[in-house]
Symmetry: C2
Subunit: 457 residues, 2 copies
């Protein structure tokens, strides 16, 4: 069998930045790499064309009586900028200590390679394993999966034959404490572009007669939160569900130290809405964040302009029961109402995603019609994780978003078993992203056990 | 004699961006160009070294009994970005209609070339003209003239022998209406850099527990103005002098149409402090503007980060009697007081300049000790401008800043006669800067007459 770490390094060397057209060739390289790897371990690989980056669909096992798992992953990565903050080159994987550094190491190439390796080992040991496995690996996750909904519609008949989806694209607090993610936040994103004067102006000659678009953007942004950290848009929290007691208990069991978290973030103090710990807030509360702001002179020194334009990039994270449509309408209405009338502006909608919840078996709020194979997968995961990592997993909702999980549920009815594998210090979406190789090794062993247990049923 | 427009084109082809070290060679090129041109018309040229870009000091006439004028100009220009908004290349001068386009065409290469050409023509006609002329041409004006104060101190004995300074680095409302600028706003500039988390964070995993530095910057910026457009810092307006009636009269005589100005700016409405017209506000009121803001993802599409840092570039324009020290202290104190305590920040001081006022002869508030040569220069300018442009000049304070004018006054005691030559539509500091060649032609004729009249005295 192949060496999983060496294969992962090879995978990272393809700079598969899906959002940037300059990386088109290396997107193709990453896609070919995955396709060839899956072919080499006995999968029938199909490359499904989309409007942009293809989806890899690879299957083994055809007996309709066997349980069927779809393993999801993505071969694309976030942009690597700012490049100057990387200690080693973003696309030249480097091992330091027990970590492998490189863009995509943790999101999602490392976790995906963990499952591919587990499957390879399992099939080497048990070539006749009574389990249908479909890898479904997309290349547009970091762009909001624009082609995925259409793919789901056109392939729904095939996908519906599966029992559940299995993936690792969520987080864990420590290398010992695995988390089964049972909820993901949704997303509503938009850019707001404000125009003041029709071209950049000399701030001496014209300063004092018009509203600077930077000021208009700043005033808008400053209006969107209350001083206590809550989002200051009426109705924003209306559909947020109260938290179940077993969930609060699971969060408490995390046992994470707020002071250590504060130090990790490197901030003087938290700014968390009242009534919630930081660990609760990221999981059960919606947010409104600014992902970028810009306008005017960006360089060293000074340039005394009043810029023509300024912009802000806004993202809202949604929790269970919130609807992207409704939050988008509330947000856009707030922007329209609060923007000063002496500037013009445009709201440019970006991608959106519905929040998702799946409740593991034997909890008070588990749906009565939960599929037996899904329940078996959850129980197998619980047992394998406890055995390999030495601790039972926690069942937690997570702050991040994998919008396609909710889409899969909507189109195919399938729920997802999400085994978290990346750590806070893995620096996802940031410079010096890395993946813990001990977690990878144990993850492979656990994943092999889980898949074998699902098959056995 | 040389062709003034061809020489100006040659001058513009040197991309003399003083603030950017990448343009070091072309700064040298522009400096050599000016030195050689002045040598060719009979000046003794001295290149005075500074810590950065040299100052050209060129003299003709040595008889101490002759009147002595110092003609000021600068050979450096603003950065040309954003380059994609230029219709023709910024450093490839192009004539369209009666305008010459290129970075520096109006600020300050065109006006400077106007005076060099006037002097060349005058001396060709009257080689024995009883007038001492010193060109003093710096290369750091667009950076805030960091070397100029030291130069003034070391050369003050020589410079004090002159009678007045003469320059064109200010504006006019229409090609027919020349303005003698009798006041300039001062400047206080700083950058504020805010740090939230120690590195960029995934906005899903960590969103909702900390204050985003973009939010902190936005809240600061939004706090610095009242809704009526005034600067919301206590004490900011304390030292602003009431406007003299003859000044209001001169501003009224401008006869400019607010509606046309609004259309020129391309804004839905003015945002001018109450009690002042837009034309008054830029001349007699101080301002606080945002020249740049940045933080987080700046590219197309989305990147869901909470950035580690965000910044804003702030500039205050000061009017007569305001002190940069005091305004700087008020501004910094406001920033320190208003910045949320859950982020860290740094204030980086940039250049500063004192506001300046000179009152032309025969006005109610002209100082009694005004020098006779200065008074003669003002009267000569009044007559020559009325003759060549067909209208008497207006005497106005201006919104822009030429901080060295106040420095020259402080160190040498010399006042300045500032003949405005650039138009609002010249796009100073902005893409598609240009200079009106009709204004240049008439400016040359007027300047020749003014200098001849000063000599005749």
């Amino acid at each position: 069998m192949f060496d999983p770490v060496e294969k992962l390094k090879e995978f990272i060397r393809h700079p598969s930045v899906s959002a940037d057209p300059a990386f088109k060739e290396s997107m193709k390289g990453a896609q070919t790499f995955v396709a060839e790897l899956l072919t080499s371990i006995g999968f029938a690989v199909e490359v499904v064309k989309t409007d942009l980056h293809p989806i890899i669909l690879a299957t083994r096992g055809t007996n309709p009586a066997w349980p069927h798992v779809i393993i999801y992953g993505h071969y694309d990565v976030q942009p690597a900028d700012p490049l100057n903050l990387w200690k080693s080159a973003a696309f030249e994987p480097e091992i330091r200590g027990n970590r492998l550094y490189g863009r995509g190491a943790a999101d999602n190439k490392g976790p995906l390679m963990t499952h591919i390796s587990a499957v390879a080992r399992l099939l080497e040991r048990r070539p006749d394993l009574p389990l249908r496995i479909t890898f479904m690996i997309e290349g547009e996750e970091e762009m909001g999966s624009p082609s995925f909904a259409k793919f789901l519609e056109t392939h729904s008949d095939r996908l519906k034959q599966a029992d559940f989806v299995y993936l690792s694209d969520t987080g864990i607090p420590t290398p010992e404490q695995i988390v089964i993610t049972c909820g993901l936040r949704g997303l509503v994103l938009c850019d707001v572009v404000v125009t003041g004067p029709r071209s950049d102006l000399h701030s001496g000659l014209h300063g004092g007669v018009l509203r600077n678009p930077i000021q208009a953007v700043a005033e808008l942004c400053a209006s969107l939160h209350s001083p206590d950290g809550r989002v200051a848009i009426e109705g924003f929290y209306d559909d947020v569900m109260p938290v179940e007691e077993w969930e609060r208990e699971q969060i408490r069991k995390l046992g994470t130290d707020p002071e250590k978290y504060r130090e990790f973030l490197g901030i003087p103090a938290f700014h968390t809405p009242p009534g919630f710990t930081p660990f609760e807030a990221t999981r059960v509360l919606p947010t409104l964040e600014f992902n970028g702001i810009g306008g005017g002179y960006q360089g060293e020194g000074t340039k005394t302009v009043i810029p023509s334009k300024a912009f802000v990039k806004i993202s809202c994270r949604l929790v269970a029961n919130q609807k992207p449509d409704k939050i988008r309408d509330l947000l856009y209405a707030a922007i329209r109402e609060r923007m000063p009338k002496d500037v013009t502006f445009e709201i440019i909608g970006q991608h959106e995603g519905t929040p998702y919840v799946v409740v593991p078996p034997d909890r008070s709020n588990t749906p009565k019609d939960q599929s037996p194979v899904l329940a078996r997968a959850f129980r197998a995961a619980d047992a394998a994780i406890a055995e390999v990592f030495g601790k039972a997993p926690l069942y937690l909702r997570e702050g991040g978003s994998v919008p396609i999980i909710a889409d899969i549920k909507r189109v195919t009815g399938l729920d997802s078993v999400m085994m978290g594998l990346f750590l806070p210090e893995d620096n996802l979406h940031a410079p010096n992203e890395s993946f813990n190789l001990d977690v990878m090794k144990k993850g492979m062993i656990a994943s092999e056990k889980i898949l074998e247990a699902v098959a056995r049923g």
